[in-house]
């Protein structure tokens, strides 16, 4: 490959939530042109006029190389080299279908969506491959609280793909002096890790809501990762991915940050608020709610022992209170600490 190929390339970012916007800003440090697709025209105008994202990141200045657009035609005009996909899970299939005809097939497609398609349990990379004629797909996942990265605090992430060139593209496009991009090949493991940790984050919110302290959180994280491994390997992922940035790394960040939406759902539940009230206050959904339900169905079918995931789901559907759930978890029979496989 020609040297600096990626440093001279045009990047499209699909979706301008906070994470999409931050990824666009990272890419703009390395690439001459970054086009961000946003759903509604108004946001496009606002972003282009203010050079910031008034809704999600009002205090962050956008790189001058970024241009916001609202139609795919113009985003893909003249060809782009890499597409960074940062839409919520539930919007992925529909948008992919709309965007399909604009892809030429030589692009590298990286998605940063943490979640899976509900019901079908399909991973986002599978959804994209089913809808878009673009085989070179990868995933970006890790402990990446958008706001921290936007303000230049150090962080790292994983780009996983079965294609080495996709990993290289992710590293070339997104690496900065404050942001490290590690590579991997276990797409399944990385995608499931990023999805499953949201459920653990909800439980972590409980602990803080009841003021149960740091030992309890450490217990939750360690036991939660055991369950994530059990689920993730049943889905075909590799155990090791759960020990890396996308697994342990992301769980710790999400379970300890009050910025995480899933954590705030848990916190609200522990404070006795109803799920509807919490979601209204959040102004958006939290992926962990849907994930808890789909995983629950799966773990029952496969008879997987995942007590934390089970309790989170039962609290979310109103079957248990947070206190009851914690009581039940504390009275689970104990066995080997590490018995993941």
């Amino acid at each position: 490959m020609k040297r600096d190929f990626w440093r001279k390339s045009t990047i499209a970012v699909i979706g301008g939530g906070s994470w999409g916007t931050v990824l666009a800003n990272l890419a703009a440090e390395n690439c001459p042109e970054v086009r961000v697709w946003l759903r509604d025209e108004e946001s496009v105008r606002a972003v282009n006029a203010t050079r910031s994202h008034p809704k999600y990141l009002p205090d962050i200045k956008l790189n001058a190389r970024i241009r916001a657009l609202h139609d795919f035609e113009r985003v893909f005009d003249g060809g782009v080299h890499a597409v960074i996909w940062a839409l919520p899970a539930k919007a992925c299939r529909e948008r992919a279908r709309e965007a399909a005809r604009f892809f030429t097939g030589s692009e590298v497609l990286l998605h940063a969506t943490k979640g899976v398609e509900s019901e079908s349990l399909k991973r986002i990379s599978v959804v994209l491959e089913e809808e878009i004629p673009c085989p070179r797909v990868g995933v970006i996942s890790g402990p990446n609280l958008a706001h921290e990265i936007a303000t230049g605090k150090p962080a790292a992430t994983v780009v996983a793909s079965r294609f080495r060139e996709v990993v290289e593209a992710g590293q070339e496009i997104l690496s900065t002096s404050k942001f490290r991009v590690y590579g991997g090949t276990d797409v399944i493991g990385v995608e499931w890790a990023g999805t499953l940790k949201n459920v653990i984050a909800i439980a972590s919110g409980w602990l803080d809501g009841l003021g149960l302290g740091e030992n309890a959180r450490a217990m939750l994280i360690a036991r939660g990762i055991s369950e994530m491994v059990r689920l993730g390997t049943a889905f075909g992922g590799q155990q090791s991915s759960f020990l890396g940035l996308a697994g342990v790394g992301d769980v710790i960040a999400t379970c300890t940050s009050p910025l995480s939406r899933n954590y705030r759902v848990g916190l609200g539940l522990a404070q006795g608020l109803s799920l509807d009230a919490i979601l209204e206050e959040l102004g958006s959904t939290a992926e962990g709610i849907q994930t808890a339900r789909t995983v629950w169905v799966f773990s029952r079918e496969r008879r997987l022992h995942v007590p934390i995931f089970e309790r989170v789901h039962r609290v979310l559907i109103g079957e248990l209170s947070v206190a009851q759930a914690l009581d039940e978890l504390m009275s689970e029979p104990v066995s080997q600490d590490i018995s993941v496989s």
């Binding site: 004629p133 085989p135 079965r162």
Partner: protein
Amino acid sequence: MHTIRATEEPVNRKTGSHPAIRFEQGPIPRGPLHDLNAQLPDILKDVVSRSFAEVKPDSHEWLLSEAYYQERTRIRREAKGGLAALPTAPRRMRDRALWGKVQSGLRRNSAEADRGELTRAVIKHYAHEIGGHFNPSIYWVATRLVPYGFSWLLNAASVRRFLPWGMTESLASRLRIVGQIPHLQKLARKGTILLVPTHQSNVDSLLIGYIIYLMGLPPFAYGAGLNLFSNPLLGFFMSNLGAYTVDRQKGNPIYKAALKNYSTRILEQGIHSIFFPGGGRSRDGALEYKPKLGLLGTGLQAQIHNLQAGKQKPNVYVVPMVTSYHFVLEAKSLVEQYLEQLGQHRYGGPTPSEESLPLARTAKFFWNLFGSQTGITARIGRPLDIFGNFVDEEGRSIGPNGTSIDPQRWLTTGGELRTDLQRDQEYTHRLGRKLVERYYRENTVLSSHLVAFSFFSALRRKYPELDLFRFLRLTRPQRSLRTDAFMEEAARLHRAVLDLAKQGRLHLSEELMTENTEAWVKDGISHLGLLHDASIVKIQDGAVWTEDMNLLYYYRNRLSGYGISFLSSTDRPRAPGELDEKGFLA
């Protein structure tokens, strides 16, 4: 010249009392293979230079010693005569001469004996062994003779007086060619075809050659196992109809490179080719679930080279084909090999022997095949591009959502059209996965398959706790069932496969398109493994039993991988080729 009707219908449905007349004798259409003789020197030269270029300069010593070590072992084994895969005498002489030279070369230091030159000599030797025996004059005769020979066999074997078992079925019921025939015929003019059939029997290659002829396509090149060349009759057919030799005994990297480069090079030449992606015949009787990707990947390389060279018809199309037989003559030795390898000490059966194919046996085989084998079905599957996408009749790759795919785009990396080892491996993986899926979907289930599957399933219900090897050793009285228990299971599984057929997950032969369980069961039993010494499923006096559990397992496995197998616990779904917790193919 005959052509095949452009429909989804079987090719030769309607026949008169003398079926072979249906197959008019047409000349074999000219294809690029006809010119192989003129191009062979160039091709072999390219193969040598490409393979040589792939060797890293500092690895000659290591590669040569590895090759030498393996070859010495092989030659010794052959000298003992234990193997059927004996090369012919002149080939053996050349073998010895070469490895003698390599041996003495490796003993001297590299200043005296240039390692590069030795490697080149080895590659050259291999290249000639693989493709260097094409003989245009024999080819000329063979291409004119073979269709007549086949027709004669079909004719003669269908005459009642020669058949002690009194079979008088028309040819139509013996060989059904169905599926995407016109599509394949069209694509053969738009690019290079890579036909990838399932592989059950040594007879496949000849049958497929004949089917290609019936479809009006020019002869295909094909990589045949060296053991087939040791049989004079088969060897004659093969080496002169575009077959090149593949010796699976030779696993060293130099040989593999030469083989791949030969295959790539003839595909670039526009010579349609056949690979068996299963690697060899199915040992367990199941459809292919673990494709070998080495040769499969040469299609992609050929297409990349073609695109780079700006050729007019650069595309290589991958066409799956699934043949279904009621009986496979080699079934017994195949399944014994499978079981011995799987079970080792737990397999208590006889040591399997690799059956040789002497002339008389081969002749008998064909006689049996055409005389009594009924209902061979060959389904031409939906053609794919080299990445596993479907292609339309114009040869364009179809993507999701009505998009069309430009292969050149998929092969562009870092802004340029090029090969990329890791990317291409991944594409070939993708193709392999897609092929397995297609094999299961393009499979035609015959009545005999479902009979074997049903009986096996009903028997397992009786002994759910037994693992595979204990189950296969059931005693005679133990391996019988009341007829109604069997019939009930047969009806249930029949409904299950009808459902699968409705979902497009497999095809059913005509005999199975009935509501009448007894009718298809009777048909199935009468055909199942017809020429084996043992009855595989037998109904008598209100009981059903089998005389050979291993063969029953072999034929039953054809329907494994569809999620309809009996499982003693259902903890998770199984992919094709996976074993259940008791060791049975799920």
